[in-house]
């Protein structure tokens, strides 16, 4: 079997001592920032991106991926123990997880989350490995118009799934695309929107922008709301679920994993959406929906499996089609660019060891997280007692050094300062920043494919509708837009996406 042969290549890469160490480091760091509220995987990956310059590409990507799925584990720990979601993907876990903790079943909830995440991680790793081949083959059939249509679909879905009014999400996407026009036009060599500033000739760098908005501006926001944590510190004793617990959590895990695996692949999907969808599904299917919100174990098992599966399968569109499905994946594009790897179908053919090594490392990382997490719960919870006034200067220091080391110059640091102010404006206007960043990352590729498709069709726009594939993708995007405009779905979406 090809699949096993490929996985064997992957494991031989992932099992190299150095790569094991970086996977471990990524998982540890991911858990750490997952536990700490106010510091997400996005800012952390952005912070470490320039530093990975010194690492070999496979080690760099393995570590950064570990941060992303490690954060899903860490986020659930604080959600359960102190009713504080460390990550947006574990918001839903606070509902039943914290109730379980209050009933003295924190240990059971934690191990449920860990087992569910591990199981989902294993399945998602296999799904990633199985789907990678066919999807890569499909990607090779894509021409400019199909890629254009695919990216439009991804951007539309990402604004459908971001909080706030849909039209404002689309506005942010378009604004992001306009910002991506800054710099040298690749086809003609013209400097656009650079105003003679040489540092802008290569375009606006993604990292200072992400850091300004998700690092610095986020700090200003967090400082405004100075609510104190009330820790329910209790000894976490019994970790083992009972036989009855198992009977209830296993089906929920299976469903959560399936849902997360599917939704993760979707452009615009990922961990957050998967966990919300799974909770809704479990509540619908349960014979005892009244127990939800009062410590139902399904309400922990399902979403925790789903968010981990979703986090991992969101790598699929990136690695096979070269299209990032969410902002963290957009940052992975940046990481690959640093190492001169063009994300897309060619990763698998040109760098099989890297490709399969990354996938295999996810399974290894999940195993590490399972072992790492349960015994260390006490330590993670203690971390929460560090006051934010000591924590945020540390975040500022790491962000600033990270931004500086992109090019070893201070221009990027000033850029981050500007986007800090811009990010604060966005927060105050409640405009979602994620669609902006996706637009920024996909903008150049969309323009290039659009221009190429139009050259091939001699300026005829109908070319996008005559190719069945691109017509289908654009139709899906149109349906998503129409659905979101329907009043009933609109209100339900607003309820579901409220954070």
């Amino acid at each position: 079997m090809d699949l096993f042969h490929n996985l064997a290549i992957g494991f031989s890469t992932a099992a190299q001592p150095a790569n094991l160490l970086y996977a471990f480091f990524g998982c540890l760091l991911g858990t750490l920032i997952g536990v700490l509220p106010g510091l997400g995987p996005l800012a952390t990956i952005a912070m470490l991106l320039p530093i990975t310059y010194a690492l070999p590409p496979d080690a760099a990507l393995i570590m950064l991926a570990g941060i992303y799925y490690g954060a899903q584990y860490g986020g659930s720990t604080t959600a359960i123990v102190v009713n504080l979601p460390g990550e947006s993907s574990s918001v839903i876990t606070t509902i039943d997880g914290y109730q379980m903790a209050k009933q003295g079943r924190a240990g059971v909830a934690l191990s449920t989350a860990a087992i569910g995440s591990f199981f989902a991680g294993c399945v998602a790793t296999l799904a990633l490995a199985a789907l990678a081949g066919p999807l890569t083959a499909a990607a090779l059939l894509f021409g400019p118009k199909e890629f254009f249509a695919l990216m439009i679909l991804g951007l539309i879905l990402s604004s459908v799934l971001s909080s706030g009014p849909f039209i404002e999400g689309i506005g942010m996407v378009v604004l992001g695309m306009l910002l991506s026009m800054v710099g040298t036009d690749l086809s003609t060599g013209t400097q656009r929107f650079a105003f003679g500033v040489p540092q802008l000739f290569d375009g606006l760098d993604f990292v200072p922008l992400a850091m300004g908005i998700f690092g610095f501006a986020e700090i200003v926001k967090n400082l405004e709301q100075d609510d104190k944590l009330s820790l329910v510190t209790q000894k976490i004793t019994n970790l083992f679920p009972t036989r009855d617990d198992f009977r209830r959590m296993v089906p929920a895990m299976l469903r959560g994993t399936a849902l997360g695996t599917l939704l993760g692949v979707l452009p615009g999907g990922g961990a957050v959406l998967s966990s919300f969808a799974s909770y809704t599904l479990e509540k619908k299917l349960s014979k005892h929906p009244e127990q939800f919100g009062k410590g139902a174990i399904e309400g922990v098992a399902g979403p925790e499996s789903a968010n981990n599966a979703g986090a991992q399968t969101s790598f699929i569109p990136l690695l096979t089609l070269g299209v990032p499905s969410n902002v963290v994946m957009a940052l992975m594009v940046g990481a690959m660019n640093i190492h001169n790897i063009q994300p897309g179908p060619e990763v698998m053919t040109k760098n099989p060891a890297l490709f399969w090594g990354l996938i295999a490392s996810m399974w290894v990382g999940n195993l590490m997280l399972l072992i790492l997490n349960l015994p260390l719960v006490g330590l993670w919870v203690k971390l929460l007692t560090i006051p934010y006034r000591y924590l945020f200067p540390a975040i500022m220091v790491f962000c600033s050094i990270g931004v500086y080391s992109i090019n070893g110059g201070t221009f990027e640091v000033y850029e981050a300062a500007v986007f800090c102010v811009f990010g604060y404006v966005l927060i105050k206007l409640q405009l979602p920043a994620a669609p902006l960043l996706l637009g920024l990352v996909l903008g150049p590729a969309i323009e290039e494919n659009f221009r190429r498709a139009m050259v091939l069709s001699r300026g005829d726009v109908s070319t996008f509708l005559t190719s069945p594939l691109s017509a289908a993708l654009l139709a899906a995007a149109a349906i998503a837009v129409i659905l979101i405009m329907l009043p009933t779905i609109r209100t339900r979406r607003e309820e579901a996406l409220q954070e």
Partner: protein, 155 residues
């Protein structure tokens, strides 16, 4: 009722922001040749995007003055926190080469700490000492990043 009133201040400001960016990009893009649909110049796509953004901005703006719009005031701004945080980053960039990493980090940490309502000199100084030591250990000696550690005068 005389004339439209801004019911939703948040949406109104958002629409205005979109419109302002759209106008800025459109006007700037006029400097670049547009070409034709079959052979697009560097100005074609940005102009197209700017028009789309202007339309969206207008729609958001009109939605805010609609009679059915929800009343929503703008959030209060914490200008002080924003100034301390942004200012500390700018100071770090300004001082990195003249003062070196140790000095500029010290300024960054102390100035940004002022943004917190629970600021104390003792806490900020202790935090600075710990963080600077950590950075030297991790970034300079551990990862070997090229950073000017000490003031330029000493080199």
């Amino acid at each position: 009722m005389t004339g439209p009133t801004i019911r939703d201040q948040r949406a109104f400001a958002s629409g205005a922001l979109f419109l302002a960016f759209a106008v800025f990009f459109f006007v700037t893009a006029l400097n670049y040749p547009a070409g034709t649909a079959a052979r697009m110049g560097p100005g074609y796509f940005p102009r197209l995007l700017a028009i789309v953004l202007a339309a969206i901005g207008l729609a958001v703006l009109l939605g805010a003055v609609r009679r059915t719009a929800e009343r929503q005031a703008l959030h209060r701004w914490d200008v002080k926190g924003l100034v301390w945080v942004t200012g500390s980053v700018i100071l770090f960039a300004l001082l990195l080469f003249p003062l070196g990493l140790v000095g500029s980090l010290f300024v960054l940490i102390v100035v940004s700490s002022r943004a917190s309502s629970e600021f104390t000199w003792k806490g900020a100084l202790a935090n600075a000492a710990v963080l600077i030591a950590l950075c030297l250990l991790v970034f300079v000696y551990g990862l070997g990043l090229r950073l000017p550690v000490w003031p330029a005068l000493l080199n």
